[in-house]
């Protein structure tokens, strides 16, 4: 049985947020994620710099999410076309990035050969 608190929490979450609060929420997320990024990446050894560059490159294709939302909404003809173009480009980035990274990492792994 779900907690009686749950509906209250969720109801609160869907209340409209004022623009400043929303901005500060995203800014908090942005700065904390930057911080986590700095902390995690500082320890990468030099020999893994290339796969790290291409792996993070693949993750920057996350903009595919934005492209899907704007294209899928089909709000205007031009907006949809641009959105679909962005989906194509972002997916090239995502799939190409992960596959290239995998190819590079395979080469570092002598067992597989």
């Amino acid at each position: 049985m779900p907690s009686p608190l749950l509906p209250v929490l969720l109801a609160d979450a869907v209340l409209p947020e004022d623009p400043a609060t929303r901005f500060i929420r995203l800014l908090t997320v942005f700065l904390l994620a930057m911080w986590v990024g700095f902390e995690v990446i500082t320890k990468v050894p030099q020999r893994l710099h290339t796969p790290l560059t291409s792996g993070s490159n693949a993750i920057s294709g996350i903009t595919a999410v934005g492209a899907i939302v704007v294209a899928g909404a089909m709000a205007t003809r031009l907006g949809t076309l641009l959105g679909l173009l962005a989906v194509v480009l972002a997916m090239i980035n995502v799939v190409g990035g992960f596959v290239v990274t995998h190819r590079m990492l395979e080469m570092f792994n002598p067992k597989k050969k």
């Binding site: 901005f23 920057s60 939302v69 641009l82 980035n93 995998h102």
Partner: protein
């Protein structure tokens, strides 16, 4: 639970997977798993995006038409990406990564443009000025455009297309950049204060594109590792900015992770060259007086044949191979492994000294040598291998120049003074395989070539190594 809450939970799961992926990428054994987890996070985020309110709302009015279109677009992109990634030769990885990076930046700029068009078309009154939406849209367009065109120019340079081979050093370029920067600021202000004037946004994208070109064109080949890292960082920041446009936290988190990782790698690369980031971006190299090439080399350069070098190698117990970009150009990595095998058969130990900025992207030499099945443990980092050079019988430098120039250590007037280098000059004998005495990217003579313990072998890298191996096996 509302469906939006579930979608947000999925985004949260994806974000956590990205962070764990980055964490695992820091170890050689866990990196493959890290890459899989990153891909899994991406799949989750993309599926969640397909369930977003605006996408599902259209399902009822157009059947599943929008999902079909999305699937087609995603399939086209995935196939192109997979084919590029699988077909491109491993030696071309730097330009491949640059190209993929550019597409990501372009996608972010286009998303912001499409959102702006939709918002302006739906609104009956002009969009309010200086909102999060307007400001984030301006920045996404700018950073995305700079990323796209900067990456294209980097690709052209790395691919050595003739037109881009030489760094662009027009004396007026600082004024051109200044004018473009001024136009950029003006247009950012314009988009923020009049978001409904869509033309301003696309003008900003055009000026950003020009800026991406003019900022990357003056940067020389040897500084490419820095540029690749920086552009990588930009593509992440563009995605994060797009997250502010559409109020989406997974874009902000993934984008800022990439932004941070790119910035750190940029700092590491700059440090490895003892250069400031502004120096790399705007300066080219300083104009401090360099020693005259004729004075340095006059009568002191000893050229040797394959047979003579093979004789030296025959007596060597410890050999260190120093690869540089020339090795990548000559595609000599397999030949190098043959040589190392021949040496090891004679009982010598062979190791490889990798300078952090050798090659055209971070860690380039490691990937190249790994492709030739050279064991990972034999690739040693600079600080690790430098103390061992005095005990090294022969150091073989293949296609590297500035990273082994002792002037960085000895001549405070040199443009590369203070740059950490591989101390190959301390080895008993140094063999330098090079096509000619032409200077490296820094454009300065290398006293190493005239040193008493140096033998120059003038030839193309691959042919030289093959001849050397043959001479060694005959001897």
């Amino acid at each position: 639970m509302s469906s939006q809450a579930l979608i947000n939970l999925a985004y949260l799961a994806a974000s956590m997977l990205f962070i764990v992926a980055f964490k695992l990428m820091t170890g050689p054994r866990t990196a493959v798993r890290g890459n899989y987890l990153g891909a899994a996070g991406m799949v989750i985020a993309i599926l969640a995006a397909c369930c977003e309110g605006p996408v599902v709302a259209r399902l009822t009015s157009v059947g599943s038409g929008n999902l079909v279109w999305l699937a087609i677009a995603a399939a086209i992109g995935s196939v192109i990406g997979a084919v590029m990634a699988l077909k491109y030769p491993m030696t071309g990885m730097p330009q491949m990564v640059a190209l993929l990076n550019g597409f990501g930046g372009a996608a972010s700029a286009i998303v912001a443009g499409a959102e702006l068009w939709n918002a302006a078309s739906a609104a009956e009154v002009p969009l309010p000025a200086w909102t999060q939406f307007a400001i984030a849209t301006a920045f996404t367009g700018l950073i995305g455009a700079v990323t796209l065109w900067g990456s294209f120019v980097a690709f052209a340079k790395l691919e050595e297309l003739p037109r881009f081979k030489k760094a662009w050093t027009d004396p007026n370029r600082h004024w051109i950049n200044l004018a473009l920067a001024a136009a950029t600021l003006l247009l950012i202000w314009g988009v923020c204060s009049h978001p409904s004037w869509i033309l301003l946004y696309w003008l900003l994208v055009i000026v950003g594109s020009a800026l991406g070109c003019t900022l990357t064109m003056p940067i020389g080949g040897a500084d490419m590792p820095v540029v690749i890292c920086l552009l990588n960082s930009y593509s992440g920041l563009a995605a994060a900015a797009a997250g502010f446009v559409i109020d989406n936290s997974v874009l902000v988190i993934a984008g800022s992770l990439v932004g941070a990782s790119g910035l750190i790698l940029t700092a590491i690369m700059c440090q490895a060259m003892n250069r400031s980031l502004t120096g790399v971006l705007f300066g080219g190299l300083g104009t401090t007086t360099a020693a005259n090439a004729d004075d340095v080399y006059a009568g002191k350069v000893k050229s040797a044949s394959a047979e003579e070098i093979a004789m030296v190698l025959e007596g060597a117990e410890r050999v260190v191979i120093v690869p540089g970009y020339g090795l990548a150009v000559a595609q000599a990595q397999h030949a190098v492994r043959e040589l190392a095998n021949a040496l090891e058969k004679r009982g010598a130990t062979v190791e490889y000294a990798i300078h952090p900025v050798a090659g055209r992207m971070p860690g380039h030499m490691n990937v190249l040598l790994a492709e030739a099945d050279i064991p990972y443990e034999k690739l040693r980092e600079m600080d690790d291998i430098n103390p061992t050079f005095p005990e090294t019988d022969v150091a073989i430098v293949i296609g590297a120049n500035d990273v082994v120039n002792p002037a960085a250590r000895t001549d405070p007037q040199s443009p590369i003074a203070g740059m950490p280098i591989l101390d190959v000059d301390k080895a008993k004998t140094v063999v330098v395989v090079k096509r000619s005495l032409s200077p490296g990217f820094a454009g300065i003579p290398n006293p190493l070539f005239a040193a008493d313990n140096t033998l120059m072998y003038f030839a193309d890298g691959k042919k030289a190594i093959l001849d050397l191996t043959a001479a060694l096996q005959r001897g």
